[in-house]
Amino acid sequence: MTALASLACLPGAAFAQAADKIKVGFMLPASGTYAALGVAIENGFRMYVGEQGGKLGGREIEYFKVDDESDPAKATDNVNRLIKRDKVDVLVGTVHSGVAMAMARAAKESNTILIVPNAGADAVTGPMCGPTIFRSSFSNWQTAYPMGVVAAKQEGKKNAMTITWKYAAGEEAVNGFKEGFEKNGGKVAKQLTVPFPNVEFQALLTEIAAAKPDAVFAFFAGAGAVKFVKDYHAAGLSKTIPLYGPGFLTDGTLDAQGEAAQGMLTTLHYADELGTERDKAFRTNYAKAYKLMPDVYAVQGYDAAQMLAVGLKAAGGDIGKKDVFRAAVEKATIASPRGDFTLSKAHNPVQDIYLRKVEGKENRKLGVAVKGLADPARGCKL
């Protein structure tokens, strides 16, 4: 009889337990070029949840995972698997902007909470912004605009050229630089592009050498960043025309760039040594937990969890109260390792952008390029 009773109780008990947990769906790259970034984001997220004893807003967290393969063609299917099959309460993803856009669309349609821990596409918190869409990272515009300000005001450059891959992220970044540069009296003479993911730059370097601008702003990442910085140095240009970029030009690529990157100035919302107590604690704990040094991606994952925690706490653990969740996150100050930040109306971090200089194998902080910079969120109707 007891056995029967317990049997009858089992499914119910299991159900109650499942309903108690908040389902977090990670849609991150687990394979391919961005795999390491996906791992760092997930590590950061889990680390914060771990620090809170595995509970946010009094509720346990249960994880679901999908490898998005950084493939926009598979994005809709992948995100629907999390939303419809796993019925997740919160989506966390991703690195690739094209995939993130599909996630934003799906999140909006299903009214699911989405926290973007990297993808910088301006559109996510621009035309595609939504009440349940949040970003814990940056917009492409946001990381490049300050470099334009610094180049014109601090470095006194008058005439610059930009170069990038011909794709959305690159164009958003170089236009951000152009805006910051021209607002402060500079002039971008020419904007060069290379088809993505082409890495043969020699012809365009010759053009740069012939045009002799005061400065060059480049947006490349990963293998392209390594190749470009090395080619630029090998062509002897680094001696005469300083090369600037958003931090992605040198983050995670310094080992491969070696000598060629030394002394370069970049802007980003994080640096290898911020020197604050908050950051020191974060770096030590992360290194202990994962036997790895944290990077900007780990920070963004960590802060995604912090944003979820703030919203959940305000809603008393009830993720269904989306209005309460949203209002709380909008009002919150997130104590990030990068420094405190709040969210703009469009749900993008309003944050300090640091000016960094490459020294050895570190992106060392020189100072703050622009304080409390908000993305203009053009096209957002929130």
């Binding site: 795999a35 592009t193 020699q202 012809a203 012939a210 062509a235």
Partner: protein, 290 residues
């Protein structure tokens, strides 16, 4: 564009074109002459680049020795691959060749991920090639790029001599036009093919090793060049080494100048070139009319 810039761009075009030739001449041997659609050719380029990365700590300063060692390793690899996989492909249809060689790409990429991971690596040029010189008073041109161009040129001449002046080359050319006849003459076509295939692999790997200090070493680096290689082979005329040389230089020029003058079209300039040439000469520039 002033004359000096124009001349430097010409140099860029030639240097890029010669590297392309090194790559695509290997493909010409394997695809053009032996008739195997080898999608894994880009992987051999990648393997070459990773070999340079692996050998650089030991032989980096003895760059020529390093290239020789790399080529020997690549020949061995090619020989083994031909024995294990490709020797079964000659009689099969193209679909099966595509499937097999595509499978090899996946295997090579996975092996690379296991052995060296997904990071981007740099290879330093040796000390004696690491400087640059002033060109036309406007730009310092890296010595390494000059070295790369010269090395490719040397190999191009060696290839030309081998194909047109030696007995091996004669057999290869004969095999290209009529496999059965060569077999009928009592030549060990199996062994001939094994040698030719190993040479093709070695050429691609050599291109990868030479490119490594210029292009960095990174995952999937083979997939981009593979398409350009096929474009070169098709433009040049399938099976023609001379055609591959002419086509490589042509693609080098069109790509370089396209990038500078027609930014909007630069992604497709070489495909436009291919379209125009194939309309004019469907068999390619030096292809044999059938």
């Amino acid at each position: 564009m002033d004359l000096a810039t124009f001349l430097v761009q010409c140099l860029n075009s030639v240097q890029y074109g010669l590297l392309l030739f090194l790559l695509s001449s290997g493909l010409t041997l394997i695809f053009g002459i032996m008739g195997v659609i080898n999608l894994a050719h880009g992987s051999f380029y990648m393997i070459g680049a990773y070999m340079a990365f692996a050998l650089a700590p030991y032989l980096g300063q003895h760059f020529i020795t390093m290239l020789v060692v790399g080529v020997i390793l690549a020949v061995v690899l090619g020989y083994l691959l031909e024995w294990a996989f490709f020797s079964f492909l000659y009689e099969r249809d193209h679909l099966q060749q595509v499937l097999m060689t595509f499978g090899l790409i996946l295997v090579f990429e996975e092996l690379r991920a296991i052995l060296v991971g997904n990071d981007v690596h740099g290879v330093q040029p040796p000390e004696w090639l690491s400087g640059s010189f002033s060109l036309a008073g406007m730009m310092s041109y890296p010595w390494y790029r000059v070295f790369a161009a010269v090395a490719c040129l040397v190999v191009a001449f060696a290839m030309y001599w081998m194909v047109n002046r030696t007995r091996l080359g004669m057999m290869v050319r004969a095999g290209a036009s009529n496999r059965d006849m060569v077999r009928g003459l009592g030549i060990n076509i199996k062994r001939l093919y094994r040698i030719v295939f190993a040479m093709g692999v070695a050429l691609a790997a050599l291109a990868g090793m030479i490119a490594a200090p210029m292009a960095s070493v990174y995952p999937n680096m083979g997939s981009g060049v593979l398409i350009i290689c096929f474009v070169v082979v098709v433009i040049g005329g399938i099976g023609s080494i001379t055609g591959a040389l002419v086509a490589s230089l042509l693609v080098g020029f069109v790509d370089t100048f396209g990038k500078v003058f027609f930014q909007e079209l630069s992604g497709m300039s070489i495909y436009l070139l291919m379209a125009v040439i194939l309309v004019w000469r469907p068999e390619g520039l030096m292809g044999k009319r059938s």
